[in-house]
C-alpha cells in the first residue's frame, strides 16, 4: 500500500506536467485537442490524488507504523477521528492535503467553465497545473508521506494531545481551503493577462471563488484563535505568532481586493491595482507556506524541514518574477476607461479602505521580518512581539473602522453636502450617545473610548442602511416592513451581505477591544470550602475528582460559582496526563455569558496540604468575537449565493469581450 501511494504521487506529477504542457501549447496554437487534453488531465490528477489520499488515510486507520509518517503522528490508542486528522498533522501529509485541495479546485474550475470562458480557460488550467506540478515535485522529492522506516515500531508516537480536539481536526483544512482557494482568482488574473482579455470577465467569474477563499482563510484564523483560547490556558486567542501573521496577511489583501474590484466593475478603473492585489494575495499565501515550512522563523506552528525552505523560496521568486513580468508586459492594455466624478465619493473612500488594509498588511509583514532584517544590519537579535503589533495597528484599525461607517453613507460617484448631513445625522448621534454613556460608566482610557464609539457609529450606519432601504421599498410597493426588508436583501444580496459582514466585523472588534483593555486576572490559592471574589463572581473550591481511561489520567477541581449571590453553576478546571505523551496538559473551564467570560485554570494542587492554586481571567465581551464570526459567515453566504443580477452582468461582460476578440 505505501508503494502504491508513492506510485500515485509520481503518476499525478506526470499527468499534471502534461496538463501544464498541453494547456500552454494549446493556448498558444489554439489547438482544441491539446486544450481538451489539458483539461482532461487536470481532472485525472484529482482522481489520482484522491486515491493517494485514501491510501494514506487507510494506512493511518490500519496502524501501519512501518510508514515513517504514520509512526510519527499516530498511535494505537488514538480515536479514529484523530487518526484521520493526523493525515495533516505533519509536513508531508499537509502538503498532500494542499495539492489534493488545489487539484480539486482545478477540476471544479474546469467543469464550471469548460463551455464558457473559452478564451481564458487554457491559460487558467496551465497556471493551476504549474502550481500543482511544483507542489507535487516538493511532495515527491523532499517529503513523501509514504516513505518507509525500514522497520516496524510497536506503536507510533501519536499526535500531540493538545492537537487532539475536533477543532484541530478542521482548523488546517479550513486554512488550506482559503490559502489554496486564492490560487483560482490568481490563475484567472494570469489568464486574463496572458490572453489579453483584461476586461472584468475574470473578476466577475472569480468573485465567488475569492469570497470563498477569503471566508475560509478567515474561518481558519477564527478556529485557530478559538482553539488557543479554550485549549492553551493563557486566556487569549491571538499572539501575533509569525504563522498567524502569515495567514492574516493574505486575508487582509484579499479583503482589499474584494472591495476594489467593485470599482473596476462599476467604473472600469483600477485594473492594474486589482491585478497587483490578487498577485500580492497569492504571493502572500505562498509566503505563508514558506514561513511555516522553512524554519526561517521558529514558531509553534512550524514544521521546519530542511531543504524545503530553499525550494519554496525559489518558487516564491519564480512566482513573483513571472507575475510581475506578465503584468508589466500588459500594462498598455490596463489603462483606466473611466474617471472619478468627485473627490468625495464612495469610490475614493474605497481607495482609502484599500490603503489602510494594505497598510495593516505591511505592518504585519514588516514586524514579522524585521527581526531578520535587524540581525542582518546590526548583528543583534531582537524580538518584534505583540506590543509592537498592537501599538502600530491600533490607530490603523480605528481609521479603517471609521471608514467602514463612513463609506456606505457616501454616495457612489458624487456626494453632496446636504446629502451627507442627512445620512450622517442618526449614526453620528448614536455614536455620541454611546460616547456619553461610556464616560458615565467611568471609562476614561482614550483607546477603548474611541474604539467603542466608532463601533457604535458603524453599527448605526449599518442598521440605518437596512432601515432606509426597507422604508423606501415599503413606500413604493406598500409591502409590510419585514417583507420589504426581506425582499430588499434578497434582491441586493451582494450589498446587504456585505453590510452583514461589516456588522460581524464590528462585533469581532468589540470583543477584541473589550477583552484586551478591560481584562482582569489574578492568581489565588484555596483550601476546600474557602472562597475568593472575582469581579461579580464568588468562587468556592468544593472538591477534587480524578478519573482514568485508556488514553489519559484526569485530575480536576470542582468549584461552585455564584454571581451577585446567586448560584450559577460549577467549573471544573483540571489537568490531563496523556499516556502516550509524557506531559500534563491544562484543561481550562469557562463560564460564558454575553457580557463576559470567567476563565479558570488549575495551576497546582498540593495533595498533602489540600491547597489548590488557580488563576482566573475575566474577559469582557470576548464572546462577541465568536458571535461576530457567525454573523460574518452568514453575511458572506448571502453575498455568495447565486444572484441572477450578477449572472446577467457576467453574461454581458462576456458578450462584450467575445465581440472585442472576435
Amino acid at each position: 500500500m505505501p508503494l502504491f501511494g508513492s506510485l500515485c504521487l509520481i503518476l499525478a506529477l506526470l499527468i499534471s506536467a502534461w496538463s501544464l504542457v498541453a494547456s500552454a501549447l494549446g493556448a498558444l496554437t489554439r489547438s482544441r485537442s491539446l486544450i481538451a487534453s489539458g483539461e482532461r488531465s487536470s481532472l485525472a490528477v484529482t482522481a489520482v490524488l484522491g486515491i493517494a489520499s485514501s491510501a494514506l488515510t487507510f494506512l493511518f486507520l490500519t496502524d501501519r507504523f512501518d510508514v515513517e509518517y504514520v509512526a510519527s503522528y499516530s498511535s494505537r490508542a488514538m480515536p479514529s477521528l484523530f487518526k484521520v486528522a493526523a493525515f495533516w498533522g505533519g509536513h508531508a501529509g499537509s502538503l498532500l492535503l494542499w495539492v489534493l485541495v488545489l487539484s480539486t479546485f482545478s477540476a471544479i474550475v474546469v467543469l464550471q467553465n469548460r463551455h464558457q470562458n473559452r478564451g481564458l480557460i487554457p491559460y487558467v488550467v496551465a497556471t493551476l497545473s504549474g502550481i500543482t506540478v511544483f507542489f507535487l515535485m516538493l511532495l515527491n522529492f523532499t517529503s513523501n508521506p509514504f516513505d518507509l522506516l525500514g522497520f516496524t515500531p510497536p506503536d507510533g508516537k501519536g499526535l500531540n494531545p493538545q492537537l487532539q480536539t475536533p477543532l484541530m481536526a478542521i482548523h488546517p483544512p479550513c486554512l488550506y481551503l482559503g490559502y489554496v482557494g486564492v490560487s483560482v482568482p490568481y490563475a484567472f488574473a494570469m489568464a486574463a493577462l496572458m490572453s489579453g482579455r483584461v476586461g472584468d470577465v475574470w473578476i466577475r467569474t472569480t468573485r465567488r471563488w475569492t469570497l470563498f477563499a477569503w471566508l475560509f482563510l478567515g474561518v481558519g484564523l477564527l478556529l485557530g484563535g478559538y482553539w488557543a483560547y479554550i485549549e492553551l490556558g493563557w486566556g487569549g486567542y491571538w499572539a501575533w505568532d509569525p504563522v498567524e501573521n502569515a495567514a492574516l496577511m493574505p486575508w487582509l489583501t484579499a479583503t482589499a481586493f474584494l472591495h476594489s474590484v467593485m470599482i473596476q466593475e462599476k467604473k472600469r478603473m483600477l485594473k492594474v491595482w486589482n491585478m497587483s492585489l490578487i498577485i500580492l494575495t497569492f504571493i502572500l499565501s505562498i509566503f505563508g507556506t514558506f514561513l511555516t515550512r522553512s524554519g526561517v522563523i521558529s514558531s509553534v506552528h512550524s514544521f521546519a524541514k530542511s531543504g524545503v525552505g530553499t525550494v519554496l523560496a525559489v518558487f516564491l521568486g519564480a512566482v513573483i518574477t513571472f507575475s510581475v513580468t506578465v503584468l508589466v508586459w500588459r500594462l498598455p492594455r490596463l489603462q483606466s476607461e473611466g474617471r472619478l466624478d468627485s473627490f468625495v465619493s464612495r469610490e475614493s473612500s474605497f481607495l482609502f479602505n484599500n490603503l489602510l488594509l494594505v497598510g495593516i498588511c505591511f505592518t504585519v509583514f514588516w514586524g514579522t521580518i524585521f527581526p531578520v532584517l535587524s540581525e542582518a544590519v546590526r548583528g543583534v537579535k531582537i524580538t518584534v512581539g505583540p506590543p509592537f503589533f498592537n501599538t502600530v495597528n491600533f490607530p490603523l484599525a480605528m481609521a479603517l473602522l471609521a471608514l467602514t461607517g463612513i463609506c456606505p453613507l457616501i454616495a457612489w460617484r458624487r456626494a453632496s453636502a446636504s446629502h451627507l448631513m442627512r445620512v450622517f445625522l442618526y449614526p453620528a448621534s448614536l455614536a455620541m450617545a454611546v460616547f456619553g454613556l461610556l464616560l458615565v460608566l467611568g471609562i476614561r482610557d482614550l483607546s477603548p473610548l474611541v474604539a467603542f464609539t466608532l463601533c457604535a457609529f458603524v453599527l448605526g450606519t449599518m442598521f440605518y442602511e437596512f432601515y432606509r432601504g426597507s422604508r423606501a421599498r415599503q413606500r413604493s410597493t406598500g409591502e409590510s416592513f419585514l417583507l420589504a426588508l426581506g425582499k430588499l436583501i434578497g434582491k441586493n444580496r451582494r450589498r446587504y451581505g456585505g453590510y452583514t459582514v461589516h456588522v460581524g466585523v464590528v462585533f469581532i472588534l468589540m470583543g477584541v477591544v473589550g477583552s484586551s483593555f478591560f481584562r482582569q486576572e489574578a492568581t489565588f490559592s484555596l483550601r476546600r470550602d474557602q472562597t475568593v471574589q472575582a469581579g461579580r463572581y464568588t468562587i468556592r473550591f468544593q472538591d477534587t475528582a480524578s478519573s482514568s481511561d485508556e488514553h489519559m489520567d484526569r485530575f480536576e477541581a470542582i468549584l461552585g460559582l455564584s454571581r451577585d449571590g446567586r448560584e450559577v453553576g460549577h467549573l471544573r478546571p483540571g489537568r490531563n496526563f496523556y499516556k502516550s505523551f509524557n506531559q500534563p496538559s491544562t484543561e481550562v473551564d469557562i463560564h460564558s455569558t454575553l457580557s463576559e467570560d470567567l476563565y479558570l485554570i488549575l495551576i497546582d494542587f498540593d495533595a498533602q496540604s489540600g491547597l489548590a492554586t488557580f488563576k482566573y481571567y475575566l474577559n469582557p465581551l470576548v464572546n462577541w468575537i465568536w458571535i461576530g464570526w457567525i454573523v460574518l459567515f452568514v453575511g458572506t453566504h448571502l453575498a455568495v449565493w447565486p444572484d441572477p443580477r450578477e449572472r446577467a452582468l457576467l453574461a454581458r461582460s462576456r458578450l462584450i469581450e467575445e465581440r472585442t476578440f472576435a
Binding site: R339, T363, L373, R378, P386, P395, S416, E465, A522
Partner: protein, 160 residues
C-alpha cells in the same frame, strides 16, 4: 493629513516610558513582565501572559527584584544585559529600531499622499464626455433647481 498627525502623536505617546510604580505591587510586576517575551517556544507570549514554568520563575524573580528596591527600568535592563535585546517583547525606540517602528507609518503617509494626488487628478481630468453644447437663445432651458434636487435625492436613495 490631520488624522495621520493625530495618529502619529498617539503613537509617540505610547512610546513614552511608563512612570515608575511602587515596588512589588501586581501592577508593577505586570508592567515589567509585559515588556519581556517568553522564549519557551510554545507561543509568542510575553512573560506576563505565558503559562509555562519558565514564565512563572521570571515573574517571581521580577517581583523579588522590585521588592529589593530596583526600579522597573533597572529590572528590565538587567534582563537585557543577561539575555540580550531579544528578551524585549518589542524593540526599543532607539537607533536602527526606529526604522522598525516608523517604517509602517512612513509607508502609509507616502502611499496616502500618492493616493490623494492621484484622486485629485482623476477627479479633475474629464474623460470621454464631450463638452456640453453652449446654451444659446434657442438651446434647451436650464432645468428648475428644485427639480434637479429631487433627481439628485432619488439617485442618492437608489445608489447609495
Amino acid at each position: 493629513m490631520l488624522r495621520s498627525a493625530v495618529r502619529f502623536g498617539l503613537f509617540l505617546a505610547m512610546l513614552l516610558p511608563a512612570a515608575p510604580a511602587s515596588p512589588s505591587t501586581q501592577e508593577a510586576v505586570d508592567a515589567v513582565t509585559a515588556k519581556l517575551i517568553c522564549d519557551c517556544g510554545c507561543t509568542n507570549l510575553t512573560i506576563k501572559e505565558c503559562t509555562c514554568g519558565k514564565a512563572d520563575r521570571v515573574r517571581a524573580e521580577v517581583s523579588a527584584r522590585l521588592d529589593a528596591g530596583q526600579t522597573p527600568a533597572q529590572v528590565v535592563s538587567a534582563y537585557v544585559d543577561e539575555y540580550g535585546e531579544q528578551i524585549l517583547a518589542a524593540p526599543t525606540a532607539k537607533g536602527f529600531n526606529l526604522v522598525g517602528w516608523l517604517a509602517p507609518f512612513a509607508a502609509l503617509l507616502l502611499a496616502a499622499s500618492f493616493l490623494i494626488l492621484a484622486l485629485r487628478r482623476w477627479a479633475r481630468v474629464p474623460w470621454h464626455e464631450p463638452p456640453l453644447a453652449p446654451l444659446g437663445g434657442g438651446g434647451p432651458r436650464a432645468p428648475d433647481p428644485s427639480f434637479l434636487k429631487r433627481v439628485q435625492d432619488d439617485i442618492d436613495d437608489v445608489e447609495r
